[in-house]
Symmetry: C2
Subunit: 189 residues, 2 copies
Amino acid sequence: MNPALVLIDLQLAIDDPSWGLRNNSGAEANVGLLLSHWRRSGWLIVHIRHDSREPNSKYRPGQPLHAFKPETAPLAGETVLGKTTCSAFFSTDLAERVAGRLLVIAGVITNNSVEATVRSAGDLGFAVNLAHDGCFTFGKRDWFGVERTADEVHGMTLSNLDGEYCRVLSTSEILCAAETYFPSSPSLP
Amino acid sequence: MNPALVLIDLQLAIDDPSWGLRNNSGAEANVGLLLSHWRRSGWLIVHIRHDSREPNSKYRPGQPLHAFKPETAPLAGETVLGKTTCSAFFSTDLAERVAGRLLVIAGVITNNSVEATVRSAGDLGFAVNLAHDGCFTFGKRDWFGVERTADEVHGMTLSNLDGEYCRVLSTSEILCAAETYFPSSPSLP
């Protein structure tokens, strides 16, 4: 079976300035490359959308920033699943929809919904490629009060996940492997 | 319902020198305090044991280091669940056994099976208190190659979990809250 591209929480609310300083300014462009390849190949694309139940969340359905970011938004016919949990596996039927497939995961934020979804996927037995340059996060304090940059937060999550729950790869590595192991349909240009 | 104490992977294999430098040398003593309180109170204790399926793992059943560490080992009648995943919720019936209870979680390692279990618990809707001083981990490189101490790894995990999937508390804070909200049986000394 062809691999599934699973994109996590790429909604307008992630651009809200209250998040602070992000990393990987090219993440949306990299997700765009993945989307282009998956669309050309006719492979399964699943857009996960966070549907918060918290009254004041910008991710609550009906709020203006709940919508998908336009540069990586779903096209007609692509699967959209709303989730109310951090891991996309706990509040959707994602596991059934992608059963038997290699999962390529990207989105936001690296150390919360992306990490939770990758950990679940690994524990559920899925083979997962995580596109490190198709994810981003924000600086935050660690639990001892030390300020960590977005790259430091990102780097610690990737280290916890790589080899244990997934393979951490670049978008280029994923596209190269996809071409090799899952050749595109011969009807494509 | 009384809270459940869920201890993760406290097996001899965690003392193997190949892990490197750990933090929280008092973690086992703190878990001992939690165990004593739970035992005196007659509350539910669940010991999670990692039963690796990897041929060369020290956590594989039958290997000498697969056994529980003696200082925090289960007593007769306490629940023992073997898991084959990182999160204890994916390969056991833990969710049913602790349904409706506040969970107090401790064990090892902070950034792998403890973190995976806490993330699952939060997403499943459990209220979780994580005993930060009843957990420990080891130094490792982040994904960019920067060496991080055990405390740095520990501190980043706790920051990712606190307020999102659980409350991070000390053993003292947990015992104080337990006495307040779940008074021990009057038949106790």
